[in-house]
């Protein structure tokens, strides 16, 4: 039972961590909280099925074998994010952070309504890899295959990302940009490449979340992604705005806290699980207003 809960916590936390990373990446390079991230996730989910307002969904991309499907969907997510950057955020590059944030809200509404027009308002069923839900015995716990895959995939994504950030030129530039964007540009960092790269990565991470969500729940809904976006945003705040390890750690922590509260709260209090969760978040922020792992740029200079 305890081990089971640990796996539940790790897999839910992993989803939140990947989503939080997608938001923290973009915040790091351009101080933009991308509120359209949830709609990026929904868009990637709907990219699996053929556009139609009929009640029954027909698999399009989703019918492809996993070896084609996964890279293709990551490319869809990255493509959407890069296109958004080019069309919406690049012209606003020098606008105030508030204007950028409002633009990201607007972008989210546009994406959601495009989905509504092409797919209709009714939730749709998607049968993606149904066998992954089957439980397997592991260390005395019955763990769904999908949970193990999610946990492994999260670790893999984090390792690859860490490697890229530490070892590649674009990674170095991204870290430099996250520290101090103006200074980095003065030292020859290519702003457009770094920002486009961050958006592409963020979009691909959104597509990863989409894949996990669909495999887990089997449904597509235009409103999906909103709740994850909210939690991911909170994770980036708790983790320290702009800190990538902070976002990941906070994502895992919020997932774990959510599972623990669901398991420990008495039935009368359980409907208010999220109120308790956000109460904890407020507590953390009262103790550490700058977040758990504040980046250097987030601290005011004296």
């Amino acid at each position: 039972m305890t081990l089971q809960l640990l796996f539940d916590a790790l897999s839910l936390g992993g989803i939140y961590a990947i989503a939080a990373l997608g938001i923290a990446l973009i915040f790091g390079v351009m101080k933009l909280v991308n509120f359209a991230h949830g709609q990026f996730i929904a868009f990637a989910v709907f990219a699996l099925i053929v556009p139609s307002t009929d009640a029954v969904a027909v698999m399009g991309l989703g019918a492809a074998p996993a070896l084609v499907l996964v890279p293709a969907l990551l490319a869809v997510g990255a493509g959407l994010a890069v296109a958004s950057e080019y069309l919406v955020f690049r012209p606003l590059r020098n606008a105030s952070p508030v204007a950028l944030m409002v633009a990201s809200f607007a972008l989210g509404v546009v994406i959601q309504n495009v989905l509504l027009v092409f797919y209709g308002g009714r939730p749709k069923a998607i049968s993606l890899w149904p066998d992954l839900g089957k439980p397997v015995q592991l260390l005395g716990a019955e763990v769904p295959m999908l949970q193990i895959i999610v946990i492994c995939a999260v670790l893999l994504v984090l390792a690859l990302l860490a490697l890229m950030l530490k070892r590649s030129r674009i990674g170095l530039e991204m870290r430099a940009a996250a520290e101090d964007f103006g200074m980095a540009r003065l030292l020859g960092v290519r702003a457009n490449a770094v920002i486009a790269g961050a958006f592409a990565l963020s979009g691909a991470l959104a597509a990863t979340v989409a894949l996990v969500l669909v495999a887990q729940t089997g449904v597509a809904d235009v409103r999906m992604g909103g709740q994850i976006m909210l939690i991911a945003f909170i994770a980036t705040v708790v983790g320290g705005m702009g800190s990538l390890p902070g976002a990941v750690a906070a994502g895992f922590a919020i997932g774990a806290a959510s599972v623990a509260l669901q398991a420990a709260l008495p039935i009368e209090a359980r409907p208010f699980r999220d109120a308790f969760l956000y109460g904890l978040v407020i507590l953390v922020l009262l103790l550490r207003p700058q977040g758990l792992f504040a980046s250097a740029s987030a601290k005011p200079r004296v």
């Binding site: 509504l116 149904p130 769904p144 449904v219």
Partner: protein, 391 residues
């Protein structure tokens, strides 16, 4: 002066665009936004009944005309849509399925002393209690659906141990669980062995499933009080975890469109007002399904088309009996209806309740991914008023 006369003439023309010898029904419903998927089928069904009545000679010797305005799935727009319908001469108002999105327009109708009908609201508020004395809903209250599941599974599937899993997303879910909680423990030897809650958009309900699996014995039935898309997600995760209890739900998840979410699903039961699968024992239901297919090109995707047909049917009968479309007079006739026959079973209204607190429901079971009608059930006593109100 000339302009003034012209203006007045245009104004007069705009104010009375409807011929005086027609009866006008106004639809203030969602034609865009996410609610559209729920409002359109029921509104289409209502228009099918209007066409049938017109073809049979009309109502009070007049033809029924319908006009409509889009609420855009927005509460503020819903009030505007209601006002627009009144301005265009509506004499009865049909409003959105859901209480939250339908009540702004229903309140406009109430203010004009007109009747209003929710397309498929199943919350007691969508009537006298939450709008006013002339508001009705033609659907079956959510607690009746939960109570039907409790009594049917007890009698027909020997359910003794039940687990309740409630999605806290909307009032409807709460209503289903309220009905189940009222009925199931009253039955001899039946017991609710545990309960839990989740949220419709939870990314995972793994910890809720861990709790069910920790029970000493798998429950006979799981009462899942949820709606799409959370319901499909929950069913997928419950079955994937190897839990084989019979899963019960409310009418809201009727339809086969979501079954791909759990391939080869078996042991899933919902109560409905009529079967969309062509196996309803009442020929009128299948006749309607065929008429619906003729009008739209596809059979109804769920039972939620039916209340639209029923509401026009009942309202027209009451208007015929009252001899007028005046709200209060028609309400008085509607309240006299006791087990009034309709194509989808008998319906009753009273001066306390403009909803169905009991109904003959068809039982749909999904076996190997195929839904089909297996039975019908009417609860042994109506859900009492205090259960409906205090939920």
């Amino acid at each position: 002066m000339k302009h003034l006369t012209l203006g007045a003439a245009i104004f007069a023309a705009l104010a009375t665009p409807v011929m005086a010898d027609d009866i006008t029904v106004g639809f203030a419903i969602a034609k865009s936004g996410w609610m559209e998927a729920y409002d359109t089928p029921a509104a289409t069904a209502a228009k099918i009944r209007i066409d049938e009545i017109n073809a049979a000679g009309g109502l009070l010797g007049k033809q029924i005309k319908w006009i409509e305005a889009d609420t855009r799935t927005d509460r503020a727009e819903a009030a505007k849509a209601g006002l627009e319908m009144v301005d265009q001469g509506a004499q009865m108002m049909v409003v959105s399925c859901d209480y939250d999105f339908g009540s702004p327009a229903a309140l406009v109708a109430e203010g004009e002393g007109m009747n209003s009908f929710f397309l498929c609201a199943e919350d007691v508020k969508a009537g006298i209690q939450g709008v006013g004395p002339n508001a009705f809903s033609a659907s079956v209250l959510a607690p009746v659906q939960g109570a039907t599941m409790a009594e049917w599974s007890y009698n027909k599937r020997a359910a003794r141990k039940a687990y309740v899993l409630e999605d806290t997303f909307i009032e409807y879910n709460k209503g289903i669980c309220t009905g189940f909680d009222w009925m199931f423990p009253r039955l001899e030897g039946a017991e609710i062995v545990g309960r839990d809650t989740f949220k419709n958009d939870d990314a995972s309900i793994a910890s809720q499933i861990t709790r069910i699996k920790a029970l000493p014995q798998e429950p006979d039935v799981i009462m899942l009080c949820s709606v799409m898309p959370g319901a499909a997600a929950a069913v997928r995760q419950i079955r994937a975890a190897g839990i084989n209890s019979l899963i019960l739900n409310g009418s809201a998840v009727d339809g086969s469109y979501w079954l791909d979410a759990t391939p080869d699903l078996s042991g899933f039961v919902v109560p409905v007002q009529g079967s969309i699968y062509g196996d309803d024992p009442r020929p009128e239901v299948e006749a309607f399904n065929v008429a619906y297919e003729k009008a739209t090109g596809a059979r109804p995707a769920s039972q939620y088309a039916y209340p639209g047909y029923v509401l026009i049917d009942l309202w027209a009968k009451a208007v015929e009996r009252a001899g007028t479309v005046d709200g209060a007079a028609v309400t008085a006739e509607l309240e006299k209806m006791k087990d009034e026959p309709t194509a989808f079973g008998p319906r009753s209204f009273s001066s306390e309740l403009h909803h169905q607190n009991t109904a003959l429901m068809q039982i749909i079971e999904i076996t190997n991914g195929k839904p089909g009608r297996v039975d019908e059930w009417r609860i042994s006593e109506p859900v009492p008023m205090d259960v409906l109100i205090t939920k």
